[in-house]
Each structure stands twice: as C-alpha cells, then as structure tokens.
C-alpha cells in the first residue's frame, strides 16, 4: 500500500466544509458540521466513527443522496476534477454517480432489486454508462462476476439476488460498483453484516481489484481493525466533525486526540490476552440537536480544560510532517498554525 500521493497532482476529491443538517420535531440535528478532507488517486482513506458520528451522512452528502426534506446540505464544496458536485445539474450528477464515483453499502439486499435478475441489474449499469450493446454488456458482466470470485458466472447471471448468500451478494455489489472502472469507490460499512471469515474475503477482494484498476477508496466504518487493515490515511469523526486526521501509523501509534486514543484503547484485541479491565470512555456521545459550538467530547474527556466548555477547537497541525491535524485545545501551544 503506502500513499500514492504525488506532489504535482492535486486531490481527486476535495471535500471542503461540508455541512448537512436535518430538521426534526425536536430541533435541528447537525449531522455533518464542517467536514473537510481530500482523497488522492489510488489511495485508500478511512472515515471512522461510532453510530451517529455523521460518517454515512458525509458519504450521502457527497453523492447528493440526502433525502430533502428533512435533510439539507447547508454549505460546503465537493470538488471532483475541479467541479463542485453540489452545484452540478442532476443529469450530470447521474453521469458521475455509479460511473466515475460508485458506492457499496452495508446491506447488499437493500441495494439490489429483489425482482430483477442479477444480469439485468449489471447490464443496466454497463449500457447506461459505457454505451455497450446488450451482447457486449452481458459478456462484460459475466467477466466481472468471475473476477469477484463467483463460480460459474454465466449461469449465475440469470439468478435473482435471494439465490446468493450474503457474502456473494456483496461480491455482486462490488462487481457492479467496479464495472465502469470508477475513479472513486465509497464503501460504507461494506463488511459489517458479514461473518469474519467472509469479511476477510471481501476486504481482500476490494483491495486487490481497486489496486488493479487504480481506484481510490473511501472506507466508511466503525471497525478500527478494518481501518488498520485497509487504509493509508484515517479521518476520525465525532459528533458530526472530523476531530483528527493523519496517516494510519499516526492515528494508531501516536494518536493525539483523547477521543481517538480512548477509542483505540477500548477495542479488545485477539492478539493480546487480558490484563486487567478494558479501558472504557466514560459517558456516551452527545445529542446532536442544537449542539452548541464547544468541544462535544469535553464531558467524556479526562483532559478537558476550561476553554473546551466554551469554544470548539480549531484544527492544529502537529507531528513532523505536519500531515496530522487535530481539533483539540491541548495542542494550542504546541500545534502549528491553526487553520479554520
């Protein structure tokens, strides 16, 4: 793996200050509140966070799939090849979605149409985006199914989604998502519903195929083990914001934000036998309704200071290369140039 970042090439996807709110009866939910990150060609980044941290809403906002109402993208930019996806006419957005940027989701059963044969669903994508005729598209669909490791693909093309197991359905989704050689694959909890031996198969498949066709991957997950196995860079989300971003080693071995280090320490590990009680972060995540502009982690933070209760911290650059950014007041003195 390693970062494929080259200096002369800008990011392929640049998300800036993305902000998505939902109107509810109880008030405004700030699901995503000023998220910025960039993705370079060929690399895999992770967005990791617990339920309600805003990681999936970030993904849906990028793809403009937020149901509106109640959701609304308040501000921000999603720059793909210099164009802001948030301002694109719907027709142009459709040409990008599923073609240049494609997605796989947690539950393949909800993303596949149960009434249509696999062939129909795969061929539809290929004909729509690649202009192949029916015969060519069918041939390519069969080849794709073979590549994702489905035995006798010719025959299985004519089966319905329910005839596939959970792992096999996720393989079909991957075949569909990668059939147009996309620039970006957004994988939203792609293995959460799968058993651990099947998860290993699927992660290996995603890694191998995206490497071969040079697709950049945004891996959205709550599982730090999956993050460690897959990603070059990591964005940690808490209460709708990215609180720390850095290279995989920075995050796992030298995490700066108290939430990140607490999260990593709370995960039981198969390679370590038990020594005393498991570390646990006290309390629970905040309610995102009308969340005031202070550090949302401070009630659970062992190192909370007075200022944390009053203002949200800016992003401080820390570490030698300056590639790590952390939103935490602890780095007010040592961190370089706050950018906000």
């Amino acid at each position: 793996m390693g970062t494929h970042r080259s200096s002369d090439e800008g990011p392929i996807l640049d998300v800036r200050d993305l902000t998505t709110y939902f109107n509810t009866d109880e008030g405004i939910v700030k699901a995503v509140d000023g998220v910025s990150f960039s993705l370079y060609r060929g690399e895999t980044i992770a967005i990791v966070g617990e339920s309600g941290s805003g990681k999936s809403v970030t993904n849906l906002s990028i793809m403009r799939l937020i149901p509106s109402p109640p959701g609304r993208i308040m501000k921000g930019q999603v720059l793909f090849e210099g164009r802001d996806l948030l301002n694109l006419p719907p027709g142009q957005m459709r040409r990008i979605r599923g073609n240049r940027i494609s997605m796989i989701f947690q539950d393949p059963m909800t993303s596949l149409n149960p009434f249509l044969r696999i062939s129909v669903q795969l061929i539809e994508t290929l004909r729509l985006h690649q202009g192949l005729n029916r015969h060519e598209a069918r041939k390519k669909a069969a080849r794709m199914l073979g590549e994702v490791g489905i035995p006798s693909p010719e025959r299985r093309l004519d089966e319905f989604p329910h005839q596939f197991s959970g792992g096999m359905r996720q393989r079909v989704m991957i075949a569909m998502a990668l059939s147009c050689n996309p620039d970006i694959l957004i994988a939203d909890e792609p293995t959460t519903a799968l058993d651990v031996t099947i998860q290993a198969q699927i992660l290996e498949l995603i890694q191998e195929l995206t490497k071969r066709i040079d697709t950049a991957v945004v891996m959205i997950t709550h599982d730090l083990g999956v993050v460690a196995a897959m990603s070059d860079r990591v964005n940690v989300m808490y209460a709708g914001r990215i609180v720390e971003t850095g290279g995989s080693e920075d995050i796992f071995y030298r995490s700066r934000h108290p939430y990140t280090s607490g999260l990593i320490r709370s995960v039981p590990r198969v390679d370590r036998s038990r020594s005393g009680p498991l570390y646990s972060i006290p309390g629970r995540p905040p309610n995102l309704i009308e969340l005031p502009d202070l550090c949302p982690f401070h009630p659970r933070c062992e190192q909370a200071m007075e200022i944390c209760r009053h203002r949200y911290p800016p992003a401080y650059s820390v570490g030698g290369s300056g590639s790590v950014r952390v939103n935490c007041w602890l780095y007010r003195e040592t961190g370089a140039g706050a950018e906000k």
Binding site: M168, D195, G262, P277, L278, P282, R284
Partner: protein, 342 residues
C-alpha cells in the same frame, strides 16, 4: 455471595450438556404436511461448566450458538440429548419443577431494543421476575423489599435509581443493556446465558458493559455462558472457549491455549481473519482466507462438517466424523490432524 464455590469436588458440575441436538423440521405439502427434512441447528453438542466460570461460545452466524443457549434454558425443547443443572435433568422436569430450576438460569439478549417491553417502566421490567416468583410462592418478599431490591440492582449495574419510572425508549442502547442485566440478576441466578450482549453496542459503550459483566461475575460468582461472534470480546471475558461450526463444537480449550495455539483449522482461520487495530501487524500477518460460504445445515453429514472449506482436509475427513477428543490437558479438538478416529 460466593457460597457456591465451596462445593465439594465430588458434586456434579453446575451445567452439563450431553450430546444436545436441536433439529427444526422442514415440512412440505398443503393438505397433508409431511416432514421432508430438518435444519440441524445444533447437532451433537457436549460441554460442562463449573460454578462461577465463564465459558465463551464463539462461531459465525448460523453455527447454532444461540440455539444452544435457548435449548439450555429449555426455551426450545431439545430433539435429543440432555441438559443437567447441578445434576438434575431439565428436559425431564415438569412445569413447576422447571420454574424453580430456571430461577438459576437467566438470559441477557443481544438487542436491548427488542428484548425490553416498551410499555413497562425500567423498574417494573427489573421487578417482574421477582413478582412472578413471589406470586408463585417460590420466594418470600414483601412489596417494599421488591422496591428496595430493584433500586439496589439499578445502582449495581450503574443506573441511577431515579430512572426507575422511565420507559425503555428514554434510555440509550448501553443503558438499556444495563436494564437487561439488572433483570437477569434479580433472582440471584447461578448461570447467566448472555447471547451477544455487546454486539449491538458502539465500541466505547461495549467496553463499559464488558467491564460491568466481568465485575459482576467476580463479585457474585455467577457462571456465564457468553455467546459472541467477536473473538476478541470472547478472549477478554472468557476463561474457556468453545468454537462452534455448523451445529457442532470443533474445539474447546482454556482461553490462553486456544488463542496462542489453536489446533482446529477452522479456529486458526477464524483467528487469522479477525482484524486487529494495528496497521503494521495487519500488513505483516498472513491471513488464512477460507474459500466459499458455510454450507446449508439441512443435510445429514457423514464426514467432517468443515470438510468443504478446510484447507487441510484429508481423505478420511470425507467419510468419518471427528469427535471432540482431548488431545492435551484441558484442550479438546474434533479434527483428524490431531487424533485418530475412534
């Protein structure tokens, strides 16, 4: 509370499960229903548990681990085999006798949203087992004793007693799981069957609940049959571990031995597939990637249940079923790589 650990060595184990089978019939036909087959959810499981110990039961979906727990609690009548609690056979008990015995077996479920009655307050949910057993005359308690006991239980699991009049929807997932735990503790059981109690919870909350369960066990000497699909969670909580595949236990050993020296090829694959939050380690470790899916449990098998996916299968595995055999001190495995056929 540690009154049970002083039992004499000759006394029967707390729980003994002998060749337990649970087959769900598959029927066909509109007018004349006839049995056309069976889903062999649990297909010959044997193990025993001592007082106060935690046995982890681990396996992937459909391997029969939850069904095993339900059959132990007699929520599902076993097709064959026996379940002995302190030497007394549960399947052969009458209704009243079973009710008395069940006081010592309680359950905690995975989904704290589905397992609590949304129309009952937290206090009533926790008090319900006490009230049922009092009304049947099995335990003697005054009404105000029940109230006091509910408050004690709530504080013990980390819930404020002021929450007793709140309804389940007013609690978070972690808090709801605490209500479920308090209810399971109410009757002072000797055995708790915990079915994936933390798998619906976020990591930071999961750690809190695991620590609570581990504290309770140490203080009260309750035995736990702890079911999970997450090997790391099992390693943290259990002193012995049973690995299930397709309705059978394939390996059973002390936790330290199982994690450092797994013998069964399935256990090895399962351990190597479990992701570890450590990028260097993830990059360097070699995964055993199993091919294919878990086969359907509705076929009668004449060879090793793991044969189709086993990377080390031999000819004999196709025609003989390996039985769980002790191959080292307190280490049992069902695999012909480690023992000869019986």
């Amino acid at each position: 509370m540690n009154a049970f650990s002083s039992a004499s060595p000759s006394s029967p184990p707390l729980l003994e499960v002998r060749d337990l089978k649970l087959h769900f019939p598959v029927e066909s036909g509109i007018v004349f229903r006839r049995r056309v087959g069976a889903v062999r959810a649990v297909d010959g499981v044997s193990f025993s548990m001592d007082r106060g110990e935690t046995l982890g039961l681990v396996g992937e979906s459909g391997c029969g681990k939850s069904t095993t727990a339900r059959a132990v609690a007699q929520l599902l009548p076993p097709t064959a085999g026996d379940v002995l609690l302190e030497g007394a056979s549960l399947p052969s008990m009458g209704r009243d006798e079973l009710l008395r015995a069940r006081r010592n077996i309680q359950l905690i479920f995975q989904d704290p949203y589905a397992s609590l009655d949304p129309r009952m307050t937290a206090g009533n949910i926790i008090a319900e087992p006490l009230i049922i057993y009092r009304n049947r005359g099995i335990i003697e308690l005054e009404k105000r004793d029940i109230n006091r006991r509910v408050e004690e239980l709530m504080e013990r699991v980390g819930l404020s007693r002021h929450f007793r009049n709140r309804y389940p929807h007013e609690f978070s997932g972690g808090q709801r799981q605490r209500i479920g735990i308090a209810r399971a503790l109410a009757l002072g059981p000797r055995l708790i069957l915990a079915d994936e109690p933390v798998s619906a919870l976020d990591v930071s909350i999961q750690a809190q609940i695991l620590n609570l369960l581990s504290d309770l066990q140490r203080e009260m000497g309750i035995a736990f049959l702890f079911i999970a699909h997450d090997l790391a969670v099992i390693e943290y909580i259990a002193s012995r571990v049973a690995v299930m595949y397709l309705g059978r236990i394939v390996e059973l050993a002390d936790s330290a031995a199982l994690y450092s020296r797994p013998l069964h090829p399935y256990t090895q694959a399962l351990l190597s597939a479990a992701p570890i939050p450590d990028p260097d380690l993830e990059r360097s470790r070699r995964r055993i990637i199993l091919s294919g899916d878990v086969p359907s449990p509705d076929l009668e098998r004449h060879g090793c249940y793991f044969y189709d996916r086993c990377p080390k299968r031999m000819d004999i595995c196709k025609t003989r079923i390996p039985e769980l055999t002790e191959v080292a001190q307190r280490h049992q495995v069902a695999c012909f790589l480690h023992h000869d056929p019986l």
